[in-house]
C-alpha cells in the first residue's frame, strides 16, 4: 500500500533527501565518508583478496533484500532492519562499510531514496557509523582468542545492544547534520533520538536473532570471518562504554508500542527538521570584494573547489595503484 510505503520511509527517517541540508554541510560530510570508504576498500582487498568482488557485491544485494523483510509492529506500521551492524558483525567492519556504501548509493540512484548531494552524509550515518559499531564494538566482545563465543545469552545481549546503538548513532549523526544546517538542537536531538530509541529495538532484536541463527546453523561462516582475539582489558573498556551509553539513553528507550503514535511523532520531527534556513554561506564573503553577490558566489565556488580538491587528493592517495596487466 502506498501509505505504508510512505510510512516506512518516514519512520526510518534517516535517508536525507537533497535540499534538506546546507550545501556546505552536505559537502563536508563527503570528506570522512570518502576517507573511510577508501581505507575500507584497501582493507577489504587485502583481507579478502580475490573473493572481495563476488562476496561484497552479493552481500550488498542481500542487505537490500533484507530490508524488505519486515514484521508488523502495530497499527499497520512495520519494522525492518537497517543492516549495518549485522553486516559488520558477520563480515567485519571494513567489509560492512563497503557493503552499506553500495546499498545506500544504489538506493539513492535507483530508487531516489536519499539525495545525491546528501549521499556523503547518508553513507556516513547509515553505513560507516553503523558498521563501526558492529565491527569495532560488538565483534571484539563476541570473539575470544580468535574464535566466536558460544554463549548464546552473551551473543544475544551484545548483538541486540549493537543493533540498537547503531540506529541511535545514525540518528544522532543525522541530527547533528541537521543542527549544523542551523536547526535548533533543542528540538532535533530529543525528537530524533526518541523516535529511534524505539525503532532501534526492532533493529536490535532482528540483529540478535539473525546472528543467533548463524551461530546455530552456520557457525563456520562466523568463524571464517572472526577477527584475532582482543585483550580482556580492551573488552572491559568497550563494555563499560556500551553500558554508559545504554544507561544514558535508557530513559528514551521506554518503548511506546503504538505505531501510529510513533509515526505522528516522526512526522512532527520531520516538520521541525526542515526548519532550516537555506542561505548560501550567509557569512561567507570574500573580504576585498565586500558583501556583494559576486563575492558570495566566488566564496562558494572556492569552497567547492577546495572540498573537491581535498577529496580528490585523499582518494588518489588511498587508491591502490592499478594492476599491471600482462
Amino acid at each position: 500500500m502506498w501509505w505504508q510505503w510512505i510510512a516506512e520511509r518516514i519512520t526510518l527517517g534517516l535517508h536525507i533527501p537533497d535540499g534538506f541540508l546546507h550545501a556546505p554541510v552536505a559537502l563536508l560530510w563527503w570528506l570522512p565518508t570518502v576517507i573511510a570508504v577508501g581505507v575500507a576498500t584497501r582493507a577489504v582487498r587485502q583481507s579478502l583478496d580475490d573473493r572481495a568482488v563476488p562476496l561484497m557485491g552479493v552481500m550488498a544485494a542481500f542487505i537490500f533484500a533484507a530490508q524488505m523483510l519486515n514484521f508488523p509492529i502495530a497499527g499497520g506500521t512495520s519494522g525492518h532492519v537497517l543492516g549495518g551492524a549485522f553486516a559488520a558483525i558477520v563480515l567485519g567492519p571494513w567489509a560492512g562499510m563497503i557493503v552499506m556504501t553500495c546499498v545506500i548509493a544504489l538506493q539513492a540512484i535507483l530508487f531516489q531514496d536519499g539525495g545525491i548531494v546528501a549521499m556523503g552524509a547518508n553513507i556516513f550515518n547509515m553505513g560507516i557509523a553503523t558498521a563501526a559499531i558492529g565491527g569495532w564494538i560488538a565483534r571484539p566482545l563476541l570473539t575470544r582468542n580468535g574464535s566466536f563465543t558460544t554463549n548464546r545469552l552473551w551473543i544475544a545481549t551484545v548483538t541486540a545492544g549493537a543493533g540498537w546503538l547503531s540506529v541511535m548513532a545514525a540518528a544522532a549523526l543525522t541530527s547533528a547534520q541537521l543542527v549544523l544546517s542551523d536547526l535548533p538542537a533543542a528540538i532535533v536531538f530529543p525528537a530524533m533520538l526518541g523516535v529511534h530509541a524505539v525503532i532501534g529495538i526492532g533493529e536490535g532484536l532482528i540483529t540478535a536473532a539473525a546472528v543467533l541463527f548463524l551461530v546455530t546453523t552456520r557457525p563456520d561462516l562466523l568463524q571464517a570471518n572472526a577477527p584475532a582475539g582482543t585483550s580482556s582489558a580492551r573488552v572491559a573498556v568497550i563494555g563499560l562504554i556500551i553500558a554508559a551509553v545504554t544507561a544514558a539513553f535508557a530513559p528514551l528507550a521506554s518503548p511506546d508500542p503504538d505505531g501510529l503514535e510513533r509515526i505522528a511523532e516522526d512526522v512532527g520531527f520531520i516538520e521541525r527538521a526542515t526548519d532550516a534556513p537555506y542561505h548560501m554561506l550567509p557569512d561567507y564573503t570574500i573580504p576585498w570584494l565586500g558583501e556583494t553577490p559576486l563575492s558570495t558566489i566566488l566564496a562558494g565556488l572556492i569552497g567547492v573547489a577546495v572540498m573537491i580538491g581535498l577529496i580528490w587528493v585523499i582518494a588518489a592517495l588511498l587508491r591502490s595503484r592499478p594492476p599491471a596487466r600482462s
Binding site: I6, R9, I10, P17, D18, G19, F20, V37, G38, T41, V44, D50, R51, A52, V53, P54, L55, G57, V58, M59, A60, A61, F62, F64, A65, A66, M68, L69, N70, F71, P72, V81, G83, I98, C102, I109, Q112, G115, I116, V117, L205, I206, A209, A210, L212, F213, L221, V267, I270, D275, P277, Y278, M280, P293, I297, G300, R319, S320, P322, R325
Partner: protein, 264 residues
C-alpha cells in the same frame, strides 16, 4: 518496490539522450543536482530556469515527462514536510491559526523557504530519474569509474546491481510464505508478541544471508573459471566525441548560469 520498473529503465534506455555518452549524462545530472543545492531561498528566476532546462532535456529525450512527474511524487512525503517551514521562520506574518491551543503564524519568509525546498527536492529527484531512464547502468558505472571511484568499488556495485533483483525476489517469496502461515483462530490473539515476531524476521534475515553467502561462493567459482584473479577488470572507455564535449560544456555553462542568475 514502488518504482522498480523505472529502475529497470536503466536496463533498456530507449530515448534520444541515450545517443550521448553515459559519462556525459551522468556528470551533467550530478552537476545539475549540485547546482540546485547551492541556489538560495526565493531565487525564483533561477529555479524556474532550472526547471525549464530539466524539462526541456527530458522532453528532448522522449523519456515522458508525465511518467517522471508521476513517479517523482514518491519523494513528496519528505518535501511536504517542508510545509511547516511556513510557520517556523521569522518574517512578516501572513496568517495565523491555532491547533490544540498553540498558535502558529505563517510568515512570508516561511512560505518562500517552503516553496524553495519543495521545488529543489522535487527537481533533484526528477534529475536522478531522468538520468536512470536514459543511461544504462553499466554506463553509469563507467562514469563513476571516470570520476576516480576505485575500480574495486565499481565492480562491487555492478555485482550488487546484478543480484539485487534476484535476492529481492527471494525475500519476497519468503515474506509470502510467512504471511500465508500467519493465521488467526476466532477468539484467540494471533501473532504472539513483538519480540517473537522480530525474532522470526531475524531468522529470515539469517536464512537469506546464508543463501546469499553460498551464492557468492558459486559466483566466485564461476569467475575463477573465466580467469579471474582478483584484479578489477578495467577497460579504457571509448573517448568522448565532439558532440559529447559540446553537450558537456553547454550543460556546465547552464549550471554556472543558474548560479549567476541566482546571486545577482
Amino acid at each position: 518496490m514502488a518504482d522498480e520498473s523505472l529502475a529497470d529503465r536503466a536496463l533498456a534506455p530507449a530515448s534520444g539522450i541515450a545517443v550521448y555518452d553515459g559519462r556525459v549524462t551522468t556528470w551533467l545530472a550530478l552537476g545539475y543536482i549540485f547546482t540546485l543545492a547551492w541556489l538560495p531561498a526565493g531565487a525564483w528566476d533561477a529555479l524556474i530556469m532550472a526547471a525549464l532546462i530539466l524539462w526541456f532535456v527530458i522532453g528532448c529525450g522522449r523519456i515522458g515527462l508525465r511518467l517522471i512527474w508521476r513517479r517523482s511524487l514518491v519523494a513528496w512525503p519528505f518535501a511536504l514536510a517542508a510545509l511547516t517551514l511556513a510557520i517556523a521562520r521569522p518574517g512578516e506574518p501572513i496568517a495565523q491559526f491555532t491547533i490544540g491551543g498553540q498558535a502558529f503564524t505563517v510568515t512570508d519568509a516561511g512560505i518562500v523557504a517552503t516553496a524553495t525546498v519543495m521545488i529543489k527536492s522535487w527537481l533533484s529527484v526528477q534529475a536522478v530519474m531522468a538520468l536512470i531512464a536514459t543511461t544504462h547502468f553499466s554506463e553509469l558505472l563507467t562514469a563513476l569509474a571516470a570520476l576516480r571511484l576505485p575500480p574495486l568499488l565499481v565492480m562491487i556495485l555492478g555485482m550488487a546491481y546484478r543480484y539485487l533483483f534476484i535476492l529481492q525476489d527471494e525475500a519476497l517469496r519468503m515474506l509470502r510464505a510467512r504471511d500465508s502461515r500467519s493465521a488467526a483462530l476466532p477468539n484467540r490473539r494471533a501473532g504472539r508478541n513483538l519480540r517473537w515476531r522480530a525474532t522470526i524476521t531475524g531468522r529470515m534475515v539469517g536464512t537469506l544471508f546464508v543463501r546469499a553467502y553460498e551464492r557468492s561462493e558459486r559466483i566466485y567459482a564461476a569467475m575463477l573459471a573465466r580467469g579471474y584473479d582478483g584484479q578489477p577488470l578495467t577497460t579504457p572507455p571509448p573517448s568522448l566525441r565532439r558532440i559529447d564535449y559540446v553537450l558537456l560544456i553547454g550543460g556546465s555553462a547552464a549550471c554556472i548560469g543558474l548560479i549567476i542568475v541566482a546571486y545577482t
